[in-house]
Every structure is written in structure tokens, then in C-alpha cells.
């Protein structure tokens, strides 16, 4: 393994930014998920339970996958690609929220398993891919084992701080200003822009 850092200058900042945004995106979508499921599954404790379970499960598996994928040719470009694809897989949320959810609610009348199935169908893939981002960033940012803990800590900070931001902004303000689908589309657009930034960001070396 070479001692040369994978990223330099601006690239480091972009990497943190991507991790921050990914955290923001996940929690923004999770909160809106509650609204998307409510018309067909209600807003009982089961629905929130199912939703949070699916997000946690998808993230946990995403961490595993992201760590694994980081072992082969890690690069900021690939990270950008990951962010972009994660955002694109959230697009079906806009389409599936109507009739398909209603059909699912009819097919699975139990409020627990119905909402579990619905949450999996809409949110598992984008959340799984978003979960891959953080461990992948760790790989890009760590240059030696002495600073590895500190780097990982900073990354957890940035990504979880982003989650906090996504939660409060979405629930306190965004839903007051915009429609659910507009917020999701806006977040997908920001992900896309950051993905392009990550792909294009060159080191000065």
C-alpha cells in the first residue's frame, strides 16, 4: 500500500461534503417516508416502527457493502457515482407512492407487515446505497493508521451532523414550504450536483 494520500486539497472537502449530504438525504427521505406511507398505512406506531427498521437495516447492510467495495480501486469519482446512483434509485418513490402502495395495502392488510413491505419497496435501495458512502469515504480519507481513528470520527461527525440537519430542516421547514415530491426532487438534484462535483474534482498533483 502506498503512503501517498488518495485525496488532496479540495478533494478532501468534497469527500466530507458528500458524507454530510448523504446523511442529510437519508433522514430527509425517512421523514417524508412517514408522510408517503400515511394515506395507505396510517401513522400508527407500527408504520414508524417499520419505516425506521427498514432504514436501519438498509444502512447497516450498506455499511458492509461500502466497506467491501472500497477495497478495489477506491476513488472520489466512484464515490460520486455512488451518490448519484443512490439519488436516482430514490426516483421511483415519486411514482410508486400512488396506486402501487394502495395495491400493497390491500394485499397485506396487517399494518405492521404492510408498512414493512411498503417501506422496503420504496426506501431500501436508496438507503442501502447511501449507507455505502460513509465507509467508502473513510477509505479515501485515511492515509495512515495513526490518524485513522480521528478521520473516522470526523466522518461520523459530518455524516451524522448531516442527518440531524436533514431531520430538522425537513420536519420544521421544508414541509411547510414545499410539497413532498418537490422536496424529494430537490434533494435528488442536490445529490446529482454533488456527484458531478465529486467526479470532476481533480487533485492539483
Amino acid at each position: 500500500m502506498s503512503d501517498r494520500p488518495l485525496l488532496a486539497g479540495l478533494q478532501v472537502a468534497v469527500c466530507y461534503l458528500v458524507a454530510f449530504w448523504s446523511g442529510f438525504f437519508v433522514m430527509g427521505v425517512e421523514l417524508l417516508g412517514g408522510r408517503i406511507l400515511a394515506p395507505n398505512f396510517g401513522s400508527s406506531i407500527y408504520v414508524w416502527g417499520a419505516l425506521i427498521t427498514v432504514f436501519m437495516l438498509a444502512l447497516s447492510l450498506g455499511y458492509l457493502a461500502g466497506g467491501r467495495w472500497s477495497q478495489k480501486n477506491p476513488s472520489l469519482q466512484r464515490l460520486g457515482l455512488l451518490l448519484g446512483v443512490a439519488a436516482l434509485t430514490a426516483l421511483p418513490v415519486l411514482v410508486l407512492a400512488g396506486r402501487p402502495l394502495e395495491d400493497l395495502a390491500i394485499a397485506v392488510p396487517d399494518p405492521r407487515f404492510g408498512s414493512l413491505a411498503a417501506a422496503s419497496m420504496l426506501f431500501f435501495v436508496p438507503t442501502f446505497l447511501s449507507g455505502m458512502v460513509s465507509p467508502y469515504c473513510v477509505r479515501l480519507l485515511v492515509d495512515d493508521e495513526k490518524t485513522s481513528g480521528r478521520r473516522a470520527g470526523q466522518l461520523y461527525f459530518v455524516s451524522t451532523f448531516g442527518s440531524a440537519g436533514g431531520t430538522i430542516l425537513t420536519s420544521f421547514y421544508l414541509v411547510l414550504w414545499f410539497e413532498v415530491n418537490t422536496i424529494i426532487l430537490g434533494m435528488i438534484a442536490i445529490s446529482g450536483a454533488l456527484a458531478v462535483l465529486a467526479v470532476l474534482a481533480r487533485s492539483r498533483r
Binding site: R35, F41, G42, S43, I45, V47, A105, I106, V175, L176
Partner: protein, 296 residues
């Protein structure tokens, strides 16, 4: 001395409220999946509350000495809406939100043969209604423990129709936002039998008032708006009854309602269609429903 000074305001406060005879007594308390369900007794009244000392409103109240009589004013308006606005005594009724069950209990008495379906999301509330508020189910009066929106969607699929529907699922602390959208009200409308009546018990005095009004207007057009401490909306897709029609129906129930302490003339006087809201307020939809944020 320092301690006494700190206690002094408390002492004065207790004296001011004329002694322990008027103090609120906690009769029952349980933690449900959603909230604390509390039963307090005070001044001969027993109330169900979701917050300590009923700080944020009371869900249901009864007078212990006269349990039939309605202790909360909104129930008078609701009974008026359900009974006066229908063109014949309703045979099938749906109530979304049980509380202490005082309304279904009264409706059962006034309409002994009607089917009265109630939807309540919180099983603890149903238990407390049975134990402390004399709520009793019978073969034609059942409680469905599920989310109101889920029930309505299912009822539509099963082809059910109701002559009267009461939406009574809001409290001052939290509004289930998916029960205050254009889509939901449209679903409720399609669940009404021909000539059916929708009654909504809400309370909003905040910014939400305008949004709630335009949302109901978007689905039902003109509606009767009855206001006291709460706000009760009475809508009828087949066309609102005239004041004369309301009065004629009210007279049929005059005697029956007197037993609950309801004066039909007072209630009749509250029916009006005056538009006292901003007609440009954004309609609430499944895509845009920040009801709780607007309610501040």
C-alpha cells in the same frame, strides 16, 4: 426562610383555588403506545386527558352526578350537525376518534337501531372509555382499533356507506396530518350515502384555520361553521339544508336531546355559512400537509 419564600407563591396559589375540595384528583393513569391516557376528577366532573393536569385540553368529560349530560360544549354542536343536517334519522354512522365515547353512547340512546361504527387508533383509550366513562359496545356498535385513514380506505373498498360521519380525531396537542387533507376528505365524501352528512370537530384558531377552511371548501363547497371553544364543520354534498329544514329536524329531537343538556335552539343559532377565513390559503393535500406547523 429562604425555603419558605420559595414556597410562598405555591401556598398562595393553593389558597386562591379555595382549598383541596376543588383540587384535581388523578383517578387513573396509563401509558399507551401513543401517549399517557389520564382520568381526572374535579368539581364533580370526570375527564379523559392526554396531558398532565389536562394542560392541553380535555378529550371527554362527564358529570359524575348526571353522567348522561354533556359536559363539553362541542358535543352539543356535533349532535346538532349529525341529527339536524341529515334529512332522516341516520341509520349508519361512522365516528373517527372515540375519546371517552360520550358521543357514541348518546347517539346509541337517541338512535337505538342505528349501526354506529367507531374507529380508534389507541386501544388504551377504548379501555379507559369502557372502564371510566360507561362506554358499552353492542352488536351494532363496534370499535375498530386502527388508523382512521386506513379504516376509511377499507370501508370504501368494502362498499360501505354511512348516513353520517363524524371526524373527531384531533386534539390540541397533535393533529394526525393525513386526516386533514383534500384527498382524505374526498375519500370520506365518497363513503357518505346519498344525502349523507359529514361533521368535523376541530378547534383551530391559528393560521391553520384558514387552511382547514379552504381544504373543506375545496371538497364540499359551502358548509355550516359552528363556533364556540371548538369549531364544528357540517358539510352535506347533496346540498346544505336550509335553516327551516334544520329547525324542523331539530324539533324532532328536542325532547331526546334535552336529557343530555342540549338546548336545540341554542345549537340552531350557531349554524352559519359566513366565510370568515382567507380564501387564498393553500389547500392541504397529501403532498402538502404541515397542519401541526401551521397550528402555532
Amino acid at each position: 426562610m429562604k425555603n419558605f419564600a420559595r414556597l410562598l407563591p405555591l401556598v398562595l396559589l393553593t389558597m386562591g383555588s379555595a382549598g383541596p375540595a376543588l383540587a384535581q384528583k388523578l383517578i387513573h393513569s396509563e401509558r399507551s403506545m401513543y401517549r399517557d391516557v389520564l382520568v381526572y376528577e374535579e368539581r364533580g366532573e370526570r375527564c379523559m386527558c392526554f396531558t398532565r393536569e389536562c394542560r392541553i385540553g380535555r378529550q371527554s368529560c362527564i358529570y359524575l352526578a348526571r353522567p348522561r349530560e354533556f359536559a363539553l360544549s362541542y358535543t352539543h354542536m356535533v349532535m346538532g350537525g349529525l341529527l339536524f343536517a341529515t334529512s332522516a334519522p341516520p341509520k349508519t354512522l361512522l365516528i373517527v376518534g372515540l375519546g371517552g365515547g360520550t358521543l357514541p353512547t348518546a347517539l346509541r340512546e337517541v338512535l337505538p337501531d342505528a349501526v354506529i361504527d367507531t374507529v380508534e387508533i389507541d386501544p388504551a383509550v377504548t379501555g379507559v372509555a369502557r372502564r371510566f366513562f360507561g362506554f358499552k359496545e353492542d352488536p351494532k356498535m363496534k370499535v375498530y382499533e386502527m388508523d382512521g385513514r386506513v379504516y376509511v380506505k377499507r370501508a370504501i373498498r368494502e362498499g360501505k356507506k354511512y348516513d353520517a360521519i363524524l371526524l373527531d380525531a384531533f386534539d390540541h396537542e397533535y393533529i394526525p396530518e393525513h386526516l386533514l387533507t383534500k384527498e382524505f376528505l374526498t375519500e370520506v365524501k365518497s363513503l357518505l350515502a346519498p344525502g349523507g352528512v359529514l361533521v368535523g370537530n376541530t378547534f383551530s384558531s391559528s393560521r391553520l384555520y384558514d387552511h382547514e377552511s379552504t381544504t373543506y371548501a375545496a371538497v364540499f363547497g359551502t358548509f355550516y361553521n359552528l363556533k364556540a371553544a371548538n369549531r364544528v364543520i357540517v358539510a352535506k354534498p347533496a346540498g346544505l339544508p336550509t335553516m327551516e329544514q334544520l329547525r324542523a329536524r331539530a324539533m324532532e329531537y328536542e325532547l331526546a336531546l334535552r336529557g343530555f343538556g342540549v338546548d336545540v335552539n341554542t345549537v340552531l343559532g350557531m349554524f352559519n355559512t359566513r366565510q370568515d377565513w382567507n380564501p387564498n390559503a393553500r389547500v392541504l393535500t397529501d403532498q402538502y400537509s404541515p397542519a401541526n406547523l401551521l397550528n402555532h
